[in-house]
Amino acid sequence: MAKLLLSVFVCMILFSTSALAQQTGSAAVKRAPATHPDLSGLWTYAIDRAPAALKKEVNGTLTIQKIDQSARHGDATSLRGVLPSTPAPSYKPEFRAKVKDLFDHESKTDPVFYCGRPGVPRIGSPRKIVQLSTETIFFYEDISGDPYRIIPTDGRPHNPRANPSHYGDSVGRWEGDVFVVDARNFVEDSWFGEDGYFHSAEMRVIERLWKDGSNLVWQATVEDPVVLAAPWVMPPRLIRPSTDPLEESPKCVERDGPKLLNNDHHLQR
């Protein structure tokens, strides 16, 4: 009888403790910080895509669907908070011939053409942002795969043991309403932009993201004291919200390379 009473007592204690936790819940629930703008959400592509429209005819009914290229080609230079930018980086004189040579043979020398990873900042703005209390996560869709970046925002420094990578070692911080991402420790075999924009292992990329109404503004600055004469502030991009969910990118199988008969090329991203 004593054992039965003890069991009932223990059950009552456990039940009351559980019920109390469910009622209050404040200690266990993680809450997003309310002090910063929320950048979370799906965002439109900001990389170049064929601006062709699709003309579809079904049973004599004609429809035309256009591609939204505003994020890549819209003029965002007059937006609030935008830094003065230039369309192209300024290389040190001794590297300009190399840039021109890479540009002239871009269809053969650009790693991205052969399914290589574009890296930062060439991949552009994220397609999806998940903003948490101590880190923010950027998701991308790309023909080379679908990378993500986990960006700590808890004040920690860069990881001194991080291996060089295409997307670098990133830390984030807030400057007012602007989310600033500082990325460094890159591999050297990527370009930070088309037209032969190579870089050294000393490259550092600062991305700034903020809200403009319901839209997102993204602007990056490339610093490379080895090859650049000055930091390059890239033109900003105004990114609209998207309802198009992320989808796994199909594998990349480049088969045009052997068929190229000359070096003609044009913009990609």
């Binding site: 064929a50 399914c115 045009d256 913009l267």
Partner: protein, 133 residues
Amino acid sequence: MKHRIPVAASTVLSLFAIASVWAHHSPSAIFDMAKRISVTGTLTKIDWVNPHIVMEMEAKGEAGKTDHWTFESNPPSWYRSVGLARADFAKAVGQTVTVEGVRAKDGTTYGYMQKIKLPDGTSLELVNGADPK
């Protein structure tokens, strides 16, 4: 191959130039922009891959032999953004389709698809996005 029809060069240039930005190389580096071709045959395969979707076809050639054609086109994400998926093409595998596009300069049966007419009569065409007509 049936019904191989050259089309006005100026139209081909304006449409194709905007139809393969992701390809990075200029289309003129591979394809003969001066004339558009039309190939009617059996769709045998559709590969939903980057940086271009690829479709395979068997078509009767001029000497009566069967030609194997490969056409690439815009990337999967582009087709997704205009509401098309692999299934929209795959349903035609094993059936007769007509593809219009431009042919590789090297003379191979390789081309860039700009328009396809599916067995159910549906026509899908890449046109100039700036001023679609």
